[in-house]
């Protein structure tokens, strides 16, 4: 009996040792816990900031970064069972679904939230509850923001396709199969849908039926949504190139060689195209027709990747976030960093600029999200980079 229990004890201890080994392996795997970064958007009806990250979608007060109180139809704050005020922070029941894409307002009181790992959910804003517990199931992960136009919902999938859904019944209408993932939100111009993919291609589709109009090989993976200006598409790729493409013909009109991969979409401000690369260089290019010229020499404003689209403040400063946990205010003419703010986590998600007074805020805000749980969302004064508030979960 004793011998038997001793044997089992030894087996148990061996299992524990191997379990620890598993944890070490998993811990050393270098894989980040989150597959992708969060997204910020504005809900003007509620005068709030929507933040989707991991298992939560939260409405934040732009004045102080607190969770918005949950109110009933009469405007009274709802209370939970213990009598505490409820705040607007939602998560799905059971094993929670993950949300990284920005929810879309589809009705005055309803948000459409497409989860990374489960499906499509409708979310009642007033009660902060999902209308359906399970949502409409999807068969692959969603990384980029879906696009809702009229009765169509276009969903980019990590599982190598983009699918158009009926936006009422959420039934699939057509699918564009790609060789690799689709990370970026598609772009709709009139009736043409432009889709970029990690398979190096830019696709132009008939948005109605998904028929491919043309395909253009960009020589490297494309992770960003193109910027459309006057019949041309502007975007960068992993081929260390930034392109100008004729949106009708599907031909490259101009290209510029960058120092590293270009991940995010460009910003057009005062006829200059601003974008960053994964080595932290910021570019300012001028479109001269069939070529690009530089507004300033590419400047390494941070030491690590700039992913999100740069934003511009009302006084004309360009703001970029970086993987080296920095937010940098850059002179739009010289490309020189003028103000730098340190953060607890990597800044990879989109940046919001909220003009003064738009959501009841007295000062113009620059709002960013980070990967650090200790400061998931941080707001700065747009004019001088003063840190105003942060939100932690």
């Amino acid at each position: 009996m004793l011998q038997s229990s001793s044997r089992w004890w030894k087996r148990g201890s061996t299992a524990v040792v191997l379990g620890v080994l598993l944890l070490v392996l998993a811990g050393c795997a270098g894989g980040p816990l989150d597959p992708v970064w969060g997204s910020l958007s504005i809900l003007p009806e509620n005068q709030s900031i929507l933040f989707a990250f991991d298992t939560h979608i939260t409405q934040l007060n732009p004045i102080d970064g607190s969770r918005l109180p949950l109110r009933d139809a009469d405007g009274n704050v709802r209370l939970d069972d213990a009598g505490n005020p409820r705040t607007w922070d939602v998560t799905t029941t059971g094993t929670p679904a993950k949300f990284f894409a920005a929810p879309i307002l589809i009705a005055p009181e309803t948000l459409l939230a497409v989860s990374y790992d489960r499906g499509i959910y409708e979310l009642d804003i007033e009660t902060a509850r999902f209308n359906t517990a399970e949502g409409q199931s999807l068969n692959a992960q969603v990384v980029g923001n879906p696009l809702l136009v009229d009765d169509r919902l276009y969903v980019p999938f990590n599982g190598r396709n983009l699918t158009a859904y009926d936006a009422v019944a959420y039934t699939p209408l057509w699918t564009l199969e790609t060789e690799q993932s689709v990370y970026a939100q598609p772009l709709l111009v009139e009736n043409t849908l432009y889709v970029t993919s990690l398979d190096h291609n830019l696709y132009a589709l008939d948005a109605e039926n998904g028929t491919v109009i043309w395909t253009l090989d960009m020589g490297g993976a494309v992770t960003s949504q193109p910027l459309y200006v006057d019949g041309y598409l502007y975007f960068g790729s992993f081929a260390r190139k930034f392109y100008k493409v004729d949106a009708v013909e599907g031909a490259i009109v101009a290209e510029f060689t960058t120092r590293d991969w270009v991940w995010g979409s460009p910003l057009l401000y005062n006829d200059i195209l601003y974008f960053g690369d994964v080595s932290g260089y910021l570019y300012g290019l001028i479109d001269d027709g069939s070529a690009f010229t530089t507004a300033f020499e590419a400047t390494q404003v941070t030491t690590r990747a700039i992913l999100s689209t740069p934003v511009v403040t009302s006084d004309g400063q360009i703001v970029v976030g970086s993987r080296d946990r920095k937010l940098v205010w850059v002179n739009a003419e010289t490309g020189v960093a003028e103000v730098t703010r340190e953060l607890a986590g990597e800044v990879l998600g989109n940046i919001l600029v909220i003009p003064a007074g738009e959501l009841g805020n007295s000062r113009e805000l620059v709002v960013i999200s980070t990967l650090a749980r200790s400061e998931l969302v941080v707001a700065f004064a747009a004019d001088n980079g003063e840190r105003l508030w942060s939100f932690a979960r």
Binding site: T14, P35, A305
Partner: protein, 285 residues
């Protein structure tokens, strides 16, 4: 860790580029190359482990003899090691060196497969060989299976289920085979009344638990990692066979645990390692 990891990721990407952009082939060849490069260390470790196994009876005797005197026991053990030219660190050091390398190998596969945007972004800073921009991201599909995902057993696809079962079974079987084949033969003992050696029964438990544990890993981790496990295990068996250290008899019978004798001389067989091996006493041939 990056000092090992980044070259690994780059070499794996390079192999992918020259092997027809086939990630499975790249993982197989890469695992074999790393195993080959690590050969001297593995050989040293195996040799040391076998020497230690052979010294066990003598050590047990010393433990019995100097039960209450730790200092004397330590001194006698060191004397014994010197006598047989055995370096107790000879087995640990290669293991310590190998461990980060195998962790890096495992991580390199995960990073190169880049299943998520953050992993793809992570890949950007790790490619120290230029010119791979045009092949990124690496094609992580093989036979319709996504190498970045765990085996989809019981999913909609029959092929995925079958391949998933084969992979998990492959990991379990090859782990068991490697364990059995590379496990040194238990030290013989003629005393039928002696109690079983606890370290031997621990080893036996490991032989049961480890394959199951790795099977669990295979179910939880990506298919790419399962392929690495299988190739690595097979390479380990072949390596042991080439070194003449494979014990295929272990496969066909349950090895009896070593018996610790309460007293009496134990004969040590085999060669001691190191310079002093030529000066061994006559009893240890």
């Amino acid at each position: 860790m990056d000092i090992i990891l980044n070259p690994f990721v780059s070499v794996l990407t390079f192999l992918y580029s020259i092997l027809g952009q086939n990630m499975v082939l790249a993982i197989v060849v890469f695992t074999l190359i790393v195993r080959l490069v690590m050969y001297p260390l593995t050989a040293q470790q195996m040799k040391s482990s076998q020497s230690m196994q052979k010294l066990q009876p003598e050590l047990k005797k010393l433990q019995e003899k100097y039960k209450g005197d730790r200092e004397k026991l330590a001194a006698e053990q060191m004397k014994l090691y010197r006598e047989y030219g055995f370096n107790p660190l000879g087995g640990c050091l290669p293991l310590i060196i190998q461990f980060p390398i195998f962790i890096a190998l495992y991580q390199a596969i995960i990073i190169a497969l880049a299943a998520t945007p953050l992993q793809l972004l992570d890949l950007s800073g790790r490619l120290i060989i230029p010119g791979f921009d045009s092949i990124i991201p690496l094609n992580n599909e093989f036979l319709g299976l996504n190498l970045t995902q765990p085996p989809a057993i019981g999913g909609a696809s029959v092929l995925a289920t079958v391949v998933g079962i084969v992979l998990v079974a492959g990991v379990v079987i090859t782990t068991w085979l490697q364990f059995k084949v590379t496990m040194p033969a238990p030290a013989a003992n003629s005393d039928p009344n002696a109690k079983p050696d606890p370290s031997a029964s621990m080893t036996q438990s490991m032989g049961t638990i480890m394959p199951l544990m790795y099977g669990f890993f295979a179910l939880s981790f990506s298919i790419g990692i399962s392929i690495y496990f299988i190739v690595s295990n097979i390479a380990g068996i072949v390596q042991a066979a080439l070194m003449g250290r494979a014990n295929f008899k272990n496969l066909f019978g349950k090895p009896k645990p070593a018996i610790v004798t309460a007293g009496g001389p134990a004969k040590i067989e085999g060669r001691a390692t190191g310079k002093q091996s030529t000066q061994r006493p006559a009893k240890s041939k």
